[in-house]
Symmetry: D3
Subunit: 238 residues, 6 copies
């Protein structure tokens, strides 16, 4: 029943390739089916003004899509002169989600910027960005631990994200683009491997949902995040 032939609770194939760029302190290419996102983490000594002197660390994120990551070419945001509303909304979500999984005391007063650039899009880019972004972040933190700059690991519980939605009346896991563009209800679920919830966003466009359906989507999401967290740990421990 799904265009891809997947089962209702089946994720797309997941791969996470680390060490993609030599300059970044942490980097990976995450591929969730045909959605490919390059994630890099940059460590900087400065922090935003509002936490200067607090001893706390900060994690922030930026998101972009290459012009031809999509079916038809999108206008380059640098040419348009600003980031669009969707971009801003997504990068705020990525930053919040990653931050919620960080022990900011343990990180110490430094900032890590996670850049997520979509190379190829096929639905679920923001979830892939969060999941891959955590890997890049973890790799950067491992360097800080190795040099002794950080002594206690601030990232002990992986953060991952997956989208679920109601497609053709059924709750399905990990929407791809053909499903996403048809689904009347979809949601993004950001959790830790240990099952803690960080962010839940369910949204209806041209439809509504009820609490039963919400619970079905939550159940699927828990399954998906478990799979993703395993892939994350495999990648960072490789």
């Amino acid at each position: 029943m799904r265009p891809s032939g997947r089962n209702l609770s089946e994720m797309r194939a997941v791969s996470i390739e680390t060490g993609i760029t030599k300059h970044a302190e942490g980097s990976c290419m995450i591929r969730i089916g045909d959605t490919h996102v390059l994630c890099t983490a940059t460590i900087e000594d400065r922090v935003p003004p509002f936490i200067k002197g607090s001893g706390l660390g900060w994690v922030t994120a930026e998101y972009g899509m290459l012009p031809r990551s999509t079916t038809s070419r999108m206008r380059r945001e640098a040419t348009a002169g600003k980031q669009g509303g969707r971009t801003v909304e997504i990068q705020r979500l990525i930053g919040r989600s990653l931050r919620a999984g960080v022990d900011r005391v343990a990180l110490g007063e430094r900032q890590i910027t996670v850049d997520c650039d979509v190379i190829q899009a096929d639905g679920g880019t923001r979830c892939a960005a969060i999941t891959g972004g955590w890997v890049a972040l973890k790799l950067a933190v491992q360097k800080l631990i190795k040099t002794g700059a950080v002594t206690s690991d601030p990232l002990t519980d992986p953060v991952a994200a997956v989208s679920c939605g109601l497609y053709a009346g059924q709750a399905v896991l990990d929407l791809d683009y053909p499903e996403d563009s048809e689904a009347g209800v979809d949601g993004n679920f950001i959790m830790t491997q240990s099952g803690k919830l960080i962010e839940v966003q369910m949204s209806a466009e041209g439809a509504t949902f009820n609490r039963d359906q919400m619970n079905q989507l939550m159940d699927l999401a828990e399954k998906g995040v478990a799979d993703l967290a395993a892939a994350q740990l495999a990648a960072v421990n490789a």
Copy 2:
């Protein structure tokens, strides 16, 4: 235990005053405690290019805060040269939420723009904007029905929104600013009077939550939306 002395499941005082500006097709000032938002609805014959000729209507929203609606003065976005990320995120949410409660076939090929401008902020401005925005929208649609331009009411089930969160470890309804700035978890719940869910956004900053807590917040939200919907209907039928 709440700074305001309210019970855990107690809303702030709600008032909705209609007919605030003479030019708009629909308008109201919604006051949820000390949060005051002026909402206006503007009917236009044009629709966005992607639905031209479809016979379907469109509802969109814009959001702004007056510079001194807040404790300390905010920079005017027109001076800054762009809308900030938070503004963009909120106005997209308002538009999506109102649209989900509209029968776009019944509305016919026209656009209604709902402007929500915060006159005074004390927490929960986006929820007040959605709730008041629905009233302005309904009043505008009533004019279309009166003139016969629309023959079947496209707005039969009020859409309202309320925020809930975990404050000092407890689930509380309708966060005001002192609570909102302390809460590690908060959520915005957009529903119809009949209990249909339109959008759920739960977000942790410096904390996490579990499904039990999520359900408690949902229960509170259902109570809050019922109160708000009653106030909406009273206002539009006055």
Copy 3:
């Protein structure tokens, strides 16, 4: 002969309601007929660089119109990405006018920003903004005097503004929108209660004027400002 039935030298009804927003140091809603402007004053300790260390105070103003304050909806300037020429011109006028009525030595090295936001427009918004802006400014200064931060009142002579013009060949006081859009010549007159002139702007579009007409408009303006100043004092002393 006037669309509103007013006499040639008759102002519209004037009301000034103070204490409109709880956050601002001074605020009022001024209503001149159907023109409604919300004015707030914000005290800040910083001053512009060019007077730093001078001991002198500064007063500046910003002006905006809500999108549906007008007959048809105006584009939000924050969305357009910049303030339009008319906005810039008006807010510079408000700032200059208010500043000319302030003893900047007595104010001391601090800045007060007056925000004037048009809620509903029906002609004469810049004059209403100056008149209401002075009230907000005075209320903020009264707080500084009460706390002893300012010891000598820097605002002893109210500043008010009114527009006059040639409508259907006659000099008329306080143009409303239907008159303003027809008048070939109009002017804005900013004065103090004691009759000192601060700014006079007379402008012809599709017509010219002579010195006799200029003097008639000045005479009307003096009458109008006297009425406005009385309303200002009543409001701040209430």
Copy 4:
């Protein structure tokens, strides 16, 4: 008593050199003392949307300052990414003033854009721009008359502008930069050669004025405009 040694009612030396650039339909370099402004007029067949089909013409203006036209270098507005408030205010004034002296029916449905670029500034640039702008405009219109595109002269009464102010307590004509930066009150007076008033802007900064002083400034302005109009006619008839 004046820094330049001029009498109270003495203009600076005025020269208007026409035919400065080969591409423009009309052009001149106007020099009022050390204030030098290059003015060009461009004829275009299109008109702004709001008069399309009306048969009426339009005149508009733009104003700029070269970065080193001033004592210390100003930032180039193209680099800053926008025109400043002062620029916008001035170019709107130039456009309005020139338009008020044009018979828009006789001009016919076309637009003339007058560009005024300050090569060297020493006070009074906006007045020089209006005065020189009229010359460029007139030269362009003469071409239209010569080709028969326009049959009745739409520019029969020269428009000129001069600034006057209160300097060291005295009314003086044609403020130069040292006077302008000291004057507590100054004004710009735009008139036609025949004595019709088009725009009067009097403004106090750190002072006020009364009607007697206003009349003295008006008297001086009439004298100044007579001198300028003679120079304009000499230039266009050369």
Copy 5:
């Protein structure tokens, strides 16, 4: 003598991997040593206004760098609100160079946009972009030929680019970043496989050069372009 140990006339390793993204009509990842650029070509039916109806085709290019493609993180241009001067200069060069190698009559009235996004930078990104851009362009054109939309190949002579410079007093081929940042003179040479010159840019910073040196750099460039063209043909014929 070269930091990399290469001979004076030795290129870095070159690889061109095609079919990188599924959406683009043509795409490749070109790797010149540690410089990696993703190039995509997008076919559109519209052309710029100035050639509409001419029957001629158009090729244009855009260039970007991912924020962490460089040693330290660069600010994202979409966040900065505009493309920097270097970006603009480079993308104009890429467009001009590719266009010079296209038979625009044979291409027919359509536009191909080549996007070049730097994934990892180590000197010579603009040359890699042109060389890889030609491959993406060729692949897109092959599709047009396959469908019969284009009947005569508009791309018969590969266009490639290489940088050469004076490093430590010697002429060297294909500067990498350590060389580029030390070289007092460097140049970009864009040629076709058959030896036709398209663009030559030689530039001194803190040094000068003479015609002998210019000729040495030209000789090296001819060798480099021959190598690159062979790699291009191998890639498109794979």
Copy 6:
């Protein structure tokens, strides 16, 4: 054969008038035929952050065109909200070229900004800007030497620029606009009087060139630069 009737190796008439604006430390109007560029040099004590404390000086340039310097009116870049790609490319070239001819140690830690504003364009504006810019720069430096702020002349070898191209199959010197718009190949050659090369940019649009043609253009350029350098020295020594 040339539209102007000039010989293949004949420059247009060159004149350089110094002391054009009273405020700038150095200024000239350079006229190469009908191309007229006003160049000013501004000395500032600050330097860019990346050389602060190095003891080295800096020279930078900005370039602009007056709206009606061209055949049809160009949009003012300050109105458009940004400098176009061509402008950015040109001003970077001017800055680089002038810098290459400066002994930055001798100049000392200060910045000189050269503004080049095109008053009338007829081809070759960037070359005229470099040539005239050097004169303005030299005049400013002469002031520094006169006051003793600089003790050793940092500008001993004039920098000048000329364009050459292939017009109707022939190599010609100093392209004017009619030639420039027809030439399939053109180049800009920046050299010192003593024959050192600073920048060479040759570019084909709709054509290609070979090394023989390149050498012919170089020969012509050497002749042109010799003429220009003589005019530069005459101007600065006048």
